[in-house]
Symmetry: D2
Subunit: 315 residues, 4 copies
Amino acid sequence: MPKFAPEYILAALPEHQVSPLPATRPVRVTDALSIGGREVVVAAGPCSIEGYDMLLASAHHVDAAGASLLRGGAFKPRTSPYAFQGLGEEGLEIMAQVRECSGIPIVTEALDTRQVEHIAQIADMVQVGARNMQNFPLLAELGRCGRPVLLKRGASARISELLLAAEYIMANGNDRVVLCERGIRTFETITRNTLDISAIPVLKRETHLPVLVDPSHSGGRADLVLPLALAAIAAGADGLIVEVHPNPPTALSDADQQLTFDEFDDLMVQIAHIATACNRTIKRPEPASRGSIPAMECAPQFDRRRTVPGKAAVA
Amino acid sequence: MPKFAPEYILAALPEHQVSPLPATRPVRVTDALSIGGREVVVAAGPCSIEGYDMLLASAHHVDAAGASLLRGGAFKPRTSPYAFQGLGEEGLEIMAQVRECSGIPIVTEALDTRQVEHIAQIADMVQVGARNMQNFPLLAELGRCGRPVLLKRGASARISELLLAAEYIMANGNDRVVLCERGIRTFETITRNTLDISAIPVLKRETHLPVLVDPSHSGGRADLVLPLALAAIAAGADGLIVEVHPNPPTALSDADQQLTFDEFDDLMVQIAHIATACNRTIKRPEPASRGSIPAMECAPQFDRRRTVPGKAAVA
Amino acid sequence: MPKFAPEYILAALPEHQVSPLPATRPVRVTDALSIGGREVVVAAGPCSIEGYDMLLASAHHVDAAGASLLRGGAFKPRTSPYAFQGLGEEGLEIMAQVRECSGIPIVTEALDTRQVEHIAQIADMVQVGARNMQNFPLLAELGRCGRPVLLKRGASARISELLLAAEYIMANGNDRVVLCERGIRTFETITRNTLDISAIPVLKRETHLPVLVDPSHSGGRADLVLPLALAAIAAGADGLIVEVHPNPPTALSDADQQLTFDEFDDLMVQIAHIATACNRTIKRPEPASRGSIPAMECAPQFDRRRTVPGKAAVA
Amino acid sequence: MPKFAPEYILAALPEHQVSPLPATRPVRVTDALSIGGREVVVAAGPCSIEGYDMLLASAHHVDAAGASLLRGGAFKPRTSPYAFQGLGEEGLEIMAQVRECSGIPIVTEALDTRQVEHIAQIADMVQVGARNMQNFPLLAELGRCGRPVLLKRGASARISELLLAAEYIMANGNDRVVLCERGIRTFETITRNTLDISAIPVLKRETHLPVLVDPSHSGGRADLVLPLALAAIAAGADGLIVEVHPNPPTALSDADQQLTFDEFDDLMVQIAHIATACNRTIKRPEPASRGSIPAMECAPQFDRRRTVPGKAAVA
């Protein structure tokens, strides 16, 4: 502490302290999993569900590495209509089967009001993608779906707008909303988006809702996922949603930003150090709650090597 | 590690590893201080030099708390010509005297090519403000000034442009350049700027120059300085430049974003935890290198309570 | 022409001419109305359908002033769930009745895939709002709806993304797509959005689709509608979509940016001058194609003075 | 005018009229040239002064085509230190000689406070480039230079900041300030910048200062210069500053956005139509005020074919 403190300064020093962050109200996802407490929660998995084997492998891997949720898209909102649009209904079936085999809860995206009921029957948590943050009929439908919702911030949404989007879900009866910062669109072109790291402490002050960060879409580059993830935890995020793929260069979407299994393992180790420094821990999934069906015996009805719709399986 | 690993995945797994960050080449500021090594360096002090006492008090405080550099503006680039423009030459004299008394090295901003030579005689490091990042004659002059340069990124500069601005300094003979991310201008209005946290790892990959972060201007809010500082260290920054003021509500510039001494002490404690988690430490200034003149005996020629130019001293 | 022309310049002068704009392929809206030809088309009307009388009055007024399409929202995408959401189904009924009475074709927005079929039965043209530009299931549904589509650019969509959004509609079988520039989100706060005037000539080079401009949302200020409308026509837009309200200060949405009837009359006069200077004309609706039911006899089933849902009519 | 007007609307109609634009106070450049009156003023010429012949040819051409001011950079602010930086002092000498020969007044950019006095002796109008809009010492120096100043808006400057930058010049004694909108930085990448066309009417309401538009830098594409110029005049700009080059593909800077002489002739014809539609005219330079020295006899001291500094003249 400084020795020097003239009286005029001591006298003038105001009661000006950074107040402690207001308490976040945890959102229950499953009986064993809540988001928003002292434990940092990680959701991980491939951008798109490309087939049964790749999803099951991803599930087992991210589960073993410490993720609490499996992510994976069945319906993919792609900028071009000619890009891979996801496996759709087949993807949902794969997802359901993988959850049964692996026991890991699943979060997946809904794009259309007409899908919400069906997706909510299968997924443990329903995601609203950035492009749909102001798809108000979809938000209203999710307000009635009975599942927790992961609401991603639109790429050009102000924080005030994100909070009002959450309000659409809550005003329709569902207060299990988790917010997700995933990068905003700026003039910078060296990254896909610009992670708005300030959004984390700002949201912590403005709302009781938990906040996840998506370091994969934020930068759009695999080499940035780790530093952005570390920064997010340090800034107070309640968790991460990370894209992981068995073989990123072959991914049918977001090939540039998905981590390998090894990279993900490394990330889980490193964020644990930061969490400890912040007096938090990484949520460890409870093995007992997971499925016990031997993986190889699961889902015989699927062509297990199928990875691209309409194409023959890889030999 | 996952139990499940079908052959096709093992076979397909590429040599796709996040490579370690390339080495940063430390920049020497003084014989006792370099930026860019394993030690995290903190520069701190008031936005503007408002008087002798407030700067000396700030110097002693931030020094004792672990800062390695004192920041303070004598020439202030203000959006309005009717706002406080800094004490100018008098500010430089105060700065020189405070360094003599306190022993802490000083970084201050140059706005005009005509000032560079004089400022370089007094300051240990010369800062280029965000508004001058593409003031090319100024950059060229700083290339010839013989002092290390702290180059702040322009509020709407792409990273590629920041690197070329650094090139202007280096092409003129000065390779002691430290970059500084201080927030970019986006559509979000809840913060003054948007800290581009990704800039840290991106710059680490693109250049050997050290990277500081300014969490004060990034958010423009005192309550965001701490979380942004923690995130910056976690993302790999080589240090911080933080605004600290003996009494922020009375500050003549940037009143909303300056920390109190207590808040700064807390920040120094907390970033040390993050630095440890990242296998780094906070640079501890060496007391031996500091001045030994008793503070109260310093600089009797100054009206020590003066804080506003042209106004009577506070009673 | 200059007298001075040294040989080296004459010799060097390349074949470098601005090529003429490629032809736009007009989109048929009704038998009497196409967008994209030499005639500039104006759509006008209130932001929201607030009641029968106000819509009918607007229809008659904008028709008489030279508009070819009536705009008006029944389903309103509002940032807050607590703001007026439009009259919904009742709004559609009012719209249908007003078209029958006035004969002016109608464009209105669809928000939800489940609404498309019904709206397409009533409206002459279906609008996709900026927030839904990447609502891909909605675009796909509109590709099958049998009506021309007015596709508004998202507030942070790149032009390349707008064109791919149009592609979603066309890939599903509907090539009657009209694009609409309506302002993008930038750092500037003095206007609601920033009209990207360059988008007009860029789109004219990149696609054969017609381009309208919305000068109301672009600036978000009634006082900017006229100069932005003039600029849009001068830059080559195929028409405008303008918000006009019988009494803007009382409007239930977008009160700041709607024109009065008088202001709209003035706009129609002034754009005609610019159109003439550009060798175009303003589309004059053909009175013969319009309804002949005396206005006062129309739609006796409506409480004609109703303007706010759930509130008593104005006395 | 509409036949239909129910009483409730007539009664409710407010006194809500678009007020006429406030008067702009013209800024005198030379005795024969003012900017800001009913006459639209065009400045044109090459991005950089690359040699004597090319500047004289440009001067004669743009003069004959109806431009009132010649533009050309001697000191060029280039993003990279390794790009052509302008001919510097030699460029100023060329400029002075060309003005003597051609009689057309000249506007050129000052980058450094130390250059202002010298440039102000030669140029008729001194330009502040976008990168220097908040170079406050430069603005202050221009406030004392005795020449009218063309102040370009920074690429990420809010309009409020542009006005305060103008205030720096005026507060130092020079009220001959002309503002220039030249495009802002946004997320859109298909154009170099985004012309903020709304800035024209907004500035017309907020200030009495004249407003020019730079359609060359706004889009960064030669093919967009004409439509943006037409839009600017339609939106109320007091004039244009356009890049024109004898042979754009060989230009040492901004090759993509400079017009050929023929394209410029076409632009001058077309903007005259728009100006007429707006009840304005294009300023016609008065031939009597121009130099009468035969071009070929001018400036024998220059290597007239020199176009690149340090390189041999083109044979």
